[in-house]
């Protein structure tokens, strides 16, 4: 957990980044600076190849996106040959666009429903139920949940289409509701359930590891004192795993926010009723060819990501302060 002796440092608080850059406090400074005797030049050589690739294929496209966002660049037509810089027009257009605002609202529902409530809640419930189990039960449950997480997205999308299909779907067969068109009537509910199914593994694994930090004797004491499960969770467990809860929420919110997989299930439809932001950007930029406008919306998405990250990190920072 947080080591409060180290000086406050904004970058170490990056997404789960608390493991980076924290040196052993017992190590003398001189040894810490270059323990392996690498020397600056050779260390540079070690980092350089990776760095070059990151700059070429991550930083340059990222900057390019920011540049495209202020142009009217399109894949076809007049503006394709001679793109003009249009300033903040794309941004004002986006903010005034009904479709963008409804997409943003759907994305918030998606993040809250499937990540914060669905994945984190279910993940914690599974981790809690498995906490003192070992052997086959634990392995099987973990393996299956993990499987849902790492199967190829086009495969899981197809699984869910088959599951929710109107005529031959498994769900209708199981529930005895023939002809129920889940993807047409409840598109958002479907993709939220889908993403909960898909992403619970990470929360489960993280909470599983976190719960090992809670001494069983404390729980035992609480139980003997007559605390209910809810009271045990609130007063004994939660204070010890707070950092993990926040890290987990941060990561799954960002992943869900940027998740493109629902496109494969509903393609944003029907009538854009499940068109979350990544799907919207894909449709505008790559299907519609409006690269400039799409880039502007991508940049807005990045800003929202940053806001989410900052809110979580500030909360985490306050907790650390409070525990000092």
């Amino acid at each position: 957990m947080a080591r409060t002796t180290s000086p406050p440092d904004p970058t170490t608080a990056g997404a789960g980044g608390s493991a980076t850059g924290r040196d052993d406090p017992g190590t003398p400074l001189a040894r810490r600076a270059d323990a392996a005797g690498l020397g600056r030049a050779r260390a540079g050589g070690f980092v350089l190849p990776g760095l070059v690739l990151i700059v070429l294929f991550l930083v340059v496209p990222a900057l390019w996106t920011i540049y495209l966002g202020v142009t009217n660049y399109r894949l076809t037509g007049l503006a394709a040959a001679d793109p003009q810089v249009v300033g903040l027009d794309n941004y004002t257009a986006a903010l005034g666009d009904e479709r963008f605002r409804s997409s943003l609202w759907l994305t918030l529902q998606f993040v809250l429903g499937s990540a914060v409530i669905g994945q984190a809640g279910l993940g914690f419930a599974i981790a809690w139920s498995l906490r003192d189990r070992h052997g086959p039960v634990r392995r099987v449950v973990e393996a299956l949940v993990l499987l849902a997480w790492i199967l190829p997205s086009s495969v899981v999308a197809f699984l869910w289409i088959a599951l929710l299909d109107r005529d031959a779907g498994t769900l209708n067969a199981l529930l005895g509701t023939p002809g129920m068109a889940w993807l047409l009537d409840h598109p958002m509910l479907s993709v939220i359930l889908f993403n909960t199914w898909r992403g619970t593994a990470f929360s489960m694994m993280l909470y599983g590891a976190a719960l090992q930090n809670v001494p069983p004797s404390h729980l035992e004491t609480a139980r003997l004192a007559g605390a209910s499960t809810w009271q045990q969770l609130r007063d004994v467990v939660f204070p010890r795993i707070r950092g993990h809860v926040l890290t987990n929420l941060l990561l799954i919110s960002l992943w869900t926010f940027n998740d493109f997989t629902p496109f494969l299930i509903t393609a944003g439809g029907p009538e854009q009723r499940s068109e979350i932001l990544p799907v919207y950007v894909f449709k505008i930029a790559l299907s519609g060819g409006e690269l400039g406008f799409g880039a502007a919306i991508s940049f807005l998405m990045l800003l929202i990501n940053l806001v989410i990250a900052l809110v979580y990190l500030r909360t985490l920072g306050q907790r650390r302060e409070a525990r000092r």
Binding site: A15, G16, L68, S129, I150, A162, A295
Partner: protein, 279 residues
Amino acid sequence: MAASDTTVAAKWRWGLLDVVVVVFALVPVLWIASLSFKTTGTLTDGNFVPREWTLDNYRTIFSTNQFVRALGNSIGIALIATAVAVVLGTMAAYAVARLDFPGKKALVGVSLLIAMFPQVSLVSPLFEIERSLGLFDTWPGLILPYITFSLPLAIYTLSAFFKQIPWDLEKAAKMDGATSGQAFRRVIAPLAAPGVFTTAILVFIFCWNDFLFAISLTSTERSRTVPVALSFFTGESQFEDPTGAICAAAVVITIPIILFVLFFQRRIVSGLTSGAVKG
């Protein structure tokens, strides 16, 4: 005793939850596997166990160039990207873990920031860059972005592993006359092997599963990978329902992933949570 009664009841309740989770996770997967063994006629009968078993769907996909090429592309691209990303990631992570150089914190911070950048927003500039470099619809055109996108995670996970290795080992190696390079290769790299292996699995899974880059940066069978080929599937003729073939293809690309989970479950779990939990 009343107290133990309630714990038994609670255990049962939680056990029930576990059963529900297993069913929840397993039903869609089994459904696909079952569909892939059904004949065209019985595809929509709604039976969980196929009435007539057949391998026709598998024969169909392995006889089409479309699927076989795509499978070759998927395997080649994912293996090369994983190998390169792990080598570059190991080198960079070693330097990050062992040396305080100026701008190190900024480097780590920036790479995490970029890793948070929505993948979909980098697709259009990458498309432009690759078209002008002639990389569009080629193997390197997918391999390079895969390497780059997995590097931040690889560096991050690997540097957590390197930090666990005591530096006295390198000093001892050098005392015995090894150079830095030798110390790294002979002493540190073998010790870090489990971490490297875990990272390799994670990177491979990422490349193997990717859909967004694969559909945006390819246009023909030359470099199209299986996840994308799946979405272009049609039956043998236009009028044939491709469901059976799609299911068979889905099962084929799922097999390596299932094997990874079966054999390396513990490693995957520890690799994914190590960074976040040590915090």
